[in-house]
């Protein structure tokens, strides 16, 4: 496992990015790319993060971010990057895994 996408969707308020980034930093997870926008008053952010050092702890990170999402009143998805890549590309799986 190498990269994951963390998606945050919900009502905008101060501190969302800080809280999510802080949590990732605690786990020594490097953020590779961030894209954030407000779509119809809904805060939407996706982060590409590097999981190279976190292979074993994916589940723990996901649980923690789910909990953080509940505290912030937003929905946080943590998913491996491949699902987004795969859906719109023609390539054999050998190249992905």
């Amino acid at each position: 496992m190498s990269k994951a996408v963390v998606t945050v969707v919900g009502q905008d308020k101060p501190g969302i990015i800080a809280a999510v980034a802080g949590n990732l930093s605690k786990h020594h997870i490097n953020i590779l790319d961030v894209s954030q926008t407000i779509m119809q008053n809904i805060f939407t952010m996706s982060m590409l993060v590097n999981l190279e050092t976190l292979d074993e702890q994916f589940n723990a990170l996901q649980d923690e971010l789910n909990q953080l999402g509940a505290e912030l009143g937003v929905t946080i998805h943590t998913q491996r990057e491949e699902i987004f890549e795969t859906m719109s590309r023609v390539s054999t799986q050998d190249q992905l895994f």
Binding site: M1, V5, T7, V9, D33, S35, T37, T44, S46, L48, F58, N59, Q62, H77, T78, Q79, R80, E81, E82, I83, F84, E85, T86, M87, S88, R89, V90, T92, Q93, L96, F97
Partner: protein
């Protein structure tokens, strides 16, 4: 990567019910045959619980990592009639219980392969297995059964059809729901991951992972965006959507196979509904422009849908197999239930629809006083459509004792609910009672 693309994927799962319907592990039982049924049954239990012990945990971890639900984890095995060639009907129960126990031990949802292939005639094991069905399907919980009674190459075994009509009634007398676990096929496929008809064909490898995808809700949402545009735009939209759905199946299947250390078999490119609103093939057909499924035009819309799903999916996966196409079970599809209740969708229309989609008369409740020969005749009609057109057809029909046209029957969970549908009351008995064998069609002689 674009945020829009990421959100689209998340929306497909959260709002449009995109899921991997099933990861099915096919396991060959050919090496479990021993001298007596009890030892063979033990060997079957041991082999299944060894190979499939990590199936559920691997699938659940993949669900987590990708955020995509894998609704069912299943096992299919070699048709038991081949393994139990010398068993009596009573001894067959050992095999059914071995399958059921093994499935419960490893925690899968269903196990398929309590099956017989009799398109050309009965061997001892075939007859014993069919005779054991009323007990096997009511005394076990997770065992699924199928019988292949015809093929384009072999023709149609009318004796088997007569026997299966009687068997369906015998099962109905013991249970309202057990017939949901029995499919009667023509041109059955050997790598089908979907239940109740999954079995592991004799030409398959020792162990294999097959995947069935689903996502009628995703297709419906995509078609909503091309309202009023010409029909080829609809076909193109379905194709592109099917591509995306199938890619997920291909990825999940190959990853699961890799983690389980077994070969990856096929992706079954199917649109399989559930009783949930928004996860309905009927609603897709209605979105194409029908006021309600069952209206004139339904067969044409279904033909387009079925074909476009295949065209989109073929490019998205390495190997395609199984049934591949749109499923039209009545009880498992909210839109079909509505149309059947309203009297818009008839058995005759459903039969026509099966000539252009991937399965057959599926999950249809009929009155409990329907004669067995009428059920046999329905099976014969479906088999004729399949055999003549080189496609798989199937019958999974649910006569319900004490219920009449208009009553509702509840099957629970993914099996849904169905209104009892009217059956033509004229007799087909003299036709079915002739017995014998309908010859293979002329175009099957290709050598």
């Amino acid at each position: 990567m674009e945020t829009k693309q990421i959100l689209e994927t998340i929306q497909m799962v959260e709002e449009e019910h995109l899921d991997i319907r099933t990861i099915t592990m096919g396991i060959s039982l050919l090496d479990t045959v021993a001298g007596d049924p009890k030892t063979t049954a033990q060997n079957i239990y041991n082999k299944i619980t060894t190979y499939a012990k990590d199936l559920v945990s691997v699938a659940e971890q993949i669900e987590r990592e990708f955020g995509i639900p894998i609704t069912n984890k299943r096992i299919s095995v070699t048709p038991i009639a081949l393994i139990a060639g010398h068993a009596t009907p009573d001894e067959m129960l050992y095999y059914a219980h071995a399958m059921d126990d093994a499935a419960k031990t490893v925690g899968v949802d269903f196990i398929g392969g309590y099956s017989a292939l009799v398109q050309k005639g009965f061997a001892n094991g075939d007859l014993a297995l069919i005779k054991s069905m009323p007990r096997a399907l009511t005394e076990t919980d997770l065992v699924m059964s199928s019988v292949n009674i015809g093929s384009t190459k072999a023709g149609i075994n009318l004796d088997a059809i007569k026997l299966m009509g009687e068997t369906v009634m015998a099962i109905a007398e013991k249970s309202d729901t057990a017939n949901a676990k029995l499919v009667i096929f023509a041109n059955a496929v050997e790598d089908n991951p979907f239940m109740a008809g999954a079995f592991h064909g004799v030409s398959e490898p020792d162990v294999v992972i097959n995947v069935g995808v689903s996502g009628p809700g995703v297709v419906k949402r995509a078609i909503e965006k091309v309202k009023g545009e010409s029909i080829q735009v609809v076909a193109e939209t379905v194709k592109q959507t099917a591509f995306k759905i199938t890619r997920v199946g291909q990825m999940v299947g190959s990853l699961a196979a890799q983690r389980l250390g077994v070969e990856f078999g096929i992706v079954d490119l199917s649109l399989a509904p559930t009783p949930a609103r928004g996860d309905s093939v009927a609603e897709v057909l209605e979105e194409i422009g029908l006021e309600q499924v069952g209206a004139h035009g339904t067969t044409a819309a279904l033909m387009l849908l079925n074909d476009a799903v295949k065209k989109g999916g073929v490019m998205a996966s390495q190997r395609v197999g199984g049934l591949s196409g749109a499923f039209i079970p009545v009880s498992e599809d909210a839109g079909m239930i509505d149309a059947a209740k309203a009297g818009v969708l008839s058995l005759a229309k459903l039969e026509a629809m099966t000539s252009v989609c991937s399965v057959g008369l599926d999950m249809i409740a009929i009155p409990g006083d329907t004669p067995a020969t009428t059920i046999s005749a329905m099976i014969a009609d479906e088999a004729a459509i399949g055999v003549q057109n080189n496609k798989t057809t199937a019958v999974r029909i649910l006569p319900t004792i004490g219920k009449y046209v208009g009553d509702m029957v509840d099957y629970g969970g993914l099996l849904g609910t169905a209104p009892v549908m009217p059956v033509v009351e004229k007799s087909s008995a003299d036709f079915i009672n002739r017995g014998g064998h309908i010859p293979a069609p002329i175009h099957s002689f290709k050598n």
